[in-house]
């Protein structure tokens, strides 16, 4: 675990994106997470951003639409230039529907996999489409840490900001799996969030965070339905942090990460 006195990697939060069941964007989601509005869970509606060229828009799969939507929301809200930003894409898996169709084809007598389906199967599909949509030639980290993928992405982005002194856009996202994969990987719906992290405070920032490892248990949400969402979709493991930001409540927040370690986030509004 982090040693006492170690300086932990930290960053300012310059913009936030959010999309999930009954959570249509950050302003609306923040009101729900702050307890100012009630949560009405409805299935997440995904659409490909206009910023993608028409051909890519047609080809984009669910996780691509999700990642680009929340990423662009965070960047636009912060008034940042997406083309210059280093990015961290973190997801617990690729697109479940695309994977299902490939595995079904490979188990059939005709194993002709569609080229588009194959290139959409790479874990970095969202990063590739993001680059095409925004023109960003900056580095893109593409991570997976199973159910701890949000925390893994948060650590990576914070370390980028702290060490390289550059802004870093974290995009964490997961979408549902169809049967029969769903029985083995029961992710029920799509949830994504994006945090634009910067080394210096922007004009309208949401506060400052620092993070390190801990053995403490992950925080839960007071609203049982929202806590069920937190547990059901890996990217929604971010909700305790998003709730603290929405409430402007300073303090340590513990997020799910690995079997043997969690990530403790020190948030100051």
């Amino acid at each position: 675990m982090s040693r006492p006195g170690d300086s932990l990697p930290g960053a300012w939060i310059g913009g936030i994106g959010l999309l999930g069941p009954g959570l249509h964007d950050w302003p609306g989601g923040a009101a729900i997470l702050a307890g100012e509005a009630s949560w009405v869970p409805t299935k997440t509606v995904l659409s490909a951003p206009e910023r993608l060229p028409a051909a890519e828009r047609r080809r984009s799969v669910r996780v691509v639409k999700l990642a680009l939507t929340v990423g662009l929301e965070a960047v636009t809200a912060a008034g940042a230039d997406a083309s210059s930003l280093a990015t961290v894409f973190s997801s617990s898996g690729g697109d479940g529907h695309n994977c299902h169709l490939i595995c079904e084809t490979l188990a059939s007598d005709d194993r002709q996999v569609s080229p588009t389906r194959f290139h959409n199967s790479v874990h970095n599909a969202a990063a590739g489409y993001w680059g095409i949509a925004t023109g960003a030639m900056a580095p893109a980290a593409v991570l997976c840490a199973f159910d701890g993928s949000f925390a893994a992405g948060l650590l990576e982005a914070l370390v980028q900001v702290s060490v390289d002194r550059v802004p870093s856009l974290l995009i964490a996202y997961d979408a549902d799996y169809p049967e029969p994969l769903r029985a083995a990987r029961p992710v029920p719906d799509a949830f994504g969030t994006a945090l634009l992290l910067t080394p210096q405070p922007g004009p309208a920032h949401f506060g400052h965070i620092r993070a390190g490892l801990t053995t403490a248990a992950a925080d839960t949400l007071a609203n049982p339905a929202l806590d069920a969402l937190r547990r059901a979709i890996p990217a929604a493991r971010s909700l305790p942090l998003l709730a603290a930001i929405a409430r402007g409540e300073p303090g340590p927040i513990v997020l799910d990460y690995l079997d043997h370690a969690r990530v403790a986030v020190d948030f100051t509004a």
Partner: protein, 395 residues
């Protein structure tokens, strides 16, 4: 950036287990590729297979991770004293001060492909023993390695197609620099599966021969499998003269196309420039470039333009994929190990199967002895993800 010590390294591929057989094959210009004879695969292509990968048994307490990819990982980290070096590092630094950052493109997806072939005829269900977390999920390889060594530090998998196991060096470098850890296991493991064999075939990117990187008649890749590992630590004095260091890492994105590189190699050039800048070096300081060199017409063309634009025509270079095949998510790690071998033993690797190389490059057909102080290793992938490493000798 501050250099890091690559205190131990190993690679297992179709050339054999560990760095001894790899070094011998590279010196002799021997390829490990063969016509594809995988069970049930009807493709006219060549592969680089690790012999005996399916015969490896994981320890009973790690059986939930059983899949070809993790078996290959275990074979890999048992070579060249790597596992002992990790245990020593654990004793020195503490289990929670060692990170695990590994690259893969498809992890153990072969298990899912096989499970789909065994779906219940009535319900469509996968077999009851199918374990998604331990095999299919990209993170399974890092979770497996972390569990195998009882490590408690940060861990993730980088899965950015064919740059994956080069980019893990960047992640580890930042984590060490940030003070979150003192050492990191990096590298990559990727194993043969139907998704990549049939997927690359559908894109018409696989060759019907053993691949011929940078040959004017090149016509596609040969897919291979491999496990490569390196242990990264902070540099502490005194440093042995023959110590191998990570001097620079450079990353970029093409922002161009999902499955074709930028035709002028702009992203590739940015990654190489960034790696040189991080190392504080000029192009003339590089003795050898291990090219990404997949042997597809468009990849090699883009890379040759980028290399010529930055280095001119004199820097010695080659792709070693004619020997190992393209090991996809493990390629960056394998080629970092080849760079370390070239530095340690003073040789420039040649390029088996290539006969008629691109003009205006110092492209090496055969291996030869030469003093080597600094190597640039390129790894570029689908979705326009690029990473270059600069690896060098301490003296």
């Amino acid at each position: 950036m501050n250099p890091l010590l690559i205190s131990r390294y190993t690679a297992t591929s179709c050339l054999g287990r560990g760095i001894g057989p790899m070094r011998d094959a590279l010196a002799a210009g021997r390829s490990g590729l063969k016509p594809c004879d995988l069970d049930g695969v009807a493709l006219d292509t060549w592969i680089g297979e690790v012999a005996g990968a399916d015969d490896e048994a994981l320890p009973p307490q790690l059986r939930s991770f059983d899949c070809r990819n993790n078996r290959l990982a275990q074979i890999g980290f048992e070579q060249d004293g790597f596992a002992d070096a990790v245990r020593n590092a654990k004793a020195r630094h503490g289990a929670d001060r060692i990170g695990v950052f590994l690259g893969t493109s498809t992890a153990g997806i072969l298990e899912t492909e096989l499970a789909y072939q065994q779906r219940d005829r009535d319900s469509g269900a996968l077999p009851a023993n199918f374990n998604y977390a331990g095999s299919h999920n990209p993170f399974s390889i890092a979770a497996f390695v972390q569990a195998a060594f009882g490590l408690g530090g940060p861990a993730n998998v980088v899965s950015s197609a064919c740059s994956s196991s080069a980019k893990v060096f960047a992640s580890a470098r930042r984590m060490i620099e940030a003070g979150l850890i003192d050492a990191a296991i990096v590298g990559g493991v990727d194993s043969l599966c139907l998704t990549t064999l049939y997927g690359f075939a559908s894109l018409e990117l696989t060759s019907r021969h053993a691949c011929r990187p940078f040959d004017l008649g090149r016509d596609g890749i040969s897919i291979g499998e491999a496990a490569a590992f390196a242990l990264l630590e902070r540099v502490s004095e005194p440093l042995a003269d023959d110590a191998i260091l990570l001097l620079g890492v450079g990353e970029s994105s093409d922002a161009y196309h999902m499955s074709s590189p930028h035709p002028e190699g702009l992203g590739a050039r940015r990654a190489m420039e960034a790696a040189l800048a991080a190392a504080g070096l000029a192009p003339g300081d590089i003795d050898y470039i291990n090219l990404h060199g997949t042997a597809t017409p468009s990849n090699d063309s883009a890379e040759s333009k980028a290399v010529r634009a930055l280095f001119g025509a004199s820097t010695a270079c080659s792709s070693t994929k004619g020997a190992t095949g393209h090991t996809l998510g493990a390629a960056g790690g394998v080629e970092a190990v080849i760079a370390a071998l070239a530095l340690r033993d003073g040789f420039l690797p040649g390029s088996p199967n290539t006969c008629d190389p691109e003009p205006d490059m110092n492209y090496l057909l055969a291996s030869r002895s030469a003093p080597v102080r600094r190597v640039l290793s390129n790894s570029f992938g689908f979705g326009g993800t690029n990473c270059s490493l600069v690896i060098g000798r301490a003296q």
